[in-house]
Amino acid sequence: MKPFDYARAASPPEAVAAVAGNPAAAFLAGGTNLVDHMKLGIAAPEQLVDISHLPLDKIEGTDDGGLRLGATVPNSDLAAHPLVRQRYPVLSQALLSGASGQLRNAATTGGNLLQRTRCIYFQDVTTPCNKRNPGSGCSALEGYTRYHAILGASMDCVAVHPSDMAVAMAALNARVEILGPSGDRSVGLHSFHRLPQDQPQRDTVLEHGELITAVVLPPLPEGTRSAYRKVRDRASYAFALVSVAAVLRLEEPTETDDGDGPASPPKIAEVRLALGGVAHKPWRATFAEEALRGQPATEEKFRRAIDAELQHAVPLPDNAFKVTMVRNTVVSVLRELCGVDQSSGGAGTPASGGEDRP
């Protein structure tokens, strides 16, 4: 590791001033990604400004009934928080599906959002990579692409964002609160991460010196269910091949049925779907959402909706399977959340509000 200076900031504005004033400075929180990158030679900051002791570690209710998650809350604490488990099970499930306990104890909310791709070429400093070394080329394009993007990639970069947490937050319409040298701003989670385009070195819209201070989860209407499903090569401690975060609410059933014959399936009042493992950012499946809104909760509608999204997919030589995997995973998650019986294809007894198990 190259030598660097280390300092603990006394306040968020002091941290921001310190990093903003030095182009070679970086914030340090849990260090689980940055310290690895410094060892591998992917990152070489000359100064680290440690923010892990700042009072950014609270989980607090907001006036409108949402939650504000401090930037330095450890992933373990966030996943275990009673209000997160109760109101936003999708987020707790996503966090617990990521990394391992030992890493979740150190990794933070803000750091999780800022973790960088696990593309093998990005992590191997001996190979060209436009993200690590802009203009050097993309090794993945002619390499092994099983773990790469099927949506929103560019000729400069086909890497995927590795976070589970961020996928859940995208489906929850979270907002990222940012403190910069010239003041505060807030960015929707969906707009926080970038598509690679011709600047894959930029993962997010953050400018140098800007610090994430919190992530705010808006309140969810009564009756909202949510769930996260991650598909990977082994049952734990692996990154997603594909993951799905779904947040939805069904319309109240009407009492028009005469009691004979099968009840008509409830309609989907509101739905948000986000996909992980498929793009340079958590991918909001807005075409699928649009196709589902106001529609009866049936397997056929689920399939048509996700196909509307996947018609835009551009698989690479080694990852065409992801298209099928996304389709099947989305349908499976929606079926479970809507209580759709596989054999009947219509909605039966709705499942409880998302599983809340580790």
Binding site: Y6, V35, D36, L48, H53, A106, S236
Partner: protein, 172 residues
């Protein structure tokens, strides 16, 4: 830079370079070589120590980040000459062969049992899922942790270490 921290209950202060990793600080500055240095990429988990009671991978923590915190290493498991039940469990149930992963495994097990004194096998497997053992196939590690869960500190059957003469031998 100067850092101070509590390691196994002892206050230590040292001058270090900011780039020193906690695992190297523990092994080389403090001479506590029970903590192992494995993959150096936060994958294998043999470097796990407890920081403020929580298992963390000390190869991905700068020693500077631990300034002011409490660290517990495998050397801090035994107390007053008595093995921790987790250590005894690894002996009783053959939770190790080569022993390389063992310090990290035992500290994660200790933290699990502190939080959840009666975990089921799935919970144990989940807790150690960030740690790699290439010898045991994990089955005996799970049994070792269960042994410890069934013989908590202070129970009569914690092991032979209740015999003071033997206990001294253990710490020697």
């Amino acid at each position: 830079m100067q850092i101070s921290m509590s390691v196994n209950g002892n206050e230590v202060t040292r001058d270090i370079e900011p780039r020193v990793l906690l695992v190297h600080f523990i092994r080389e500055e403090l001479g506590l070589t029970g903590t192992h240095w494995g993959c150096d990429t936060s994958n294998c988990g043999t470097c796990v120590v407890l920081m403020d009671g929580q298992p963390v991978k000390s190869c991905t923590v700068l020693a500077a980040m631990a300034d002011g915190h409490e660290i517990r290493t495998v050397e801090g498991l035994a107390s007053n000459g008595a093995l921790d039940p987790v250590q005894q469990g690894f002996m009783e149930e053959h939770g190790l062969q080569c022993g390389f992963c063992t310090p990290g495994m035992m500290l994660t097990a200790r933290a699990l049992l502190d939080k959840n004194p009666h975990p089921d096998d799935g919970e144990i497997r989940q807790a150690i899922s960030g740690q790699i053992c290439r010898c045991t196939g994990y089955a005996t590690i799970v049994r070792s942790v269960q042994w410890a869960a069934n013989h908590p500190v202070g129970s009569a059957a914690t092991g032979d270490a209740a015999d003071p003469s033997e206990a001294e031998e253990v710490t020697a």
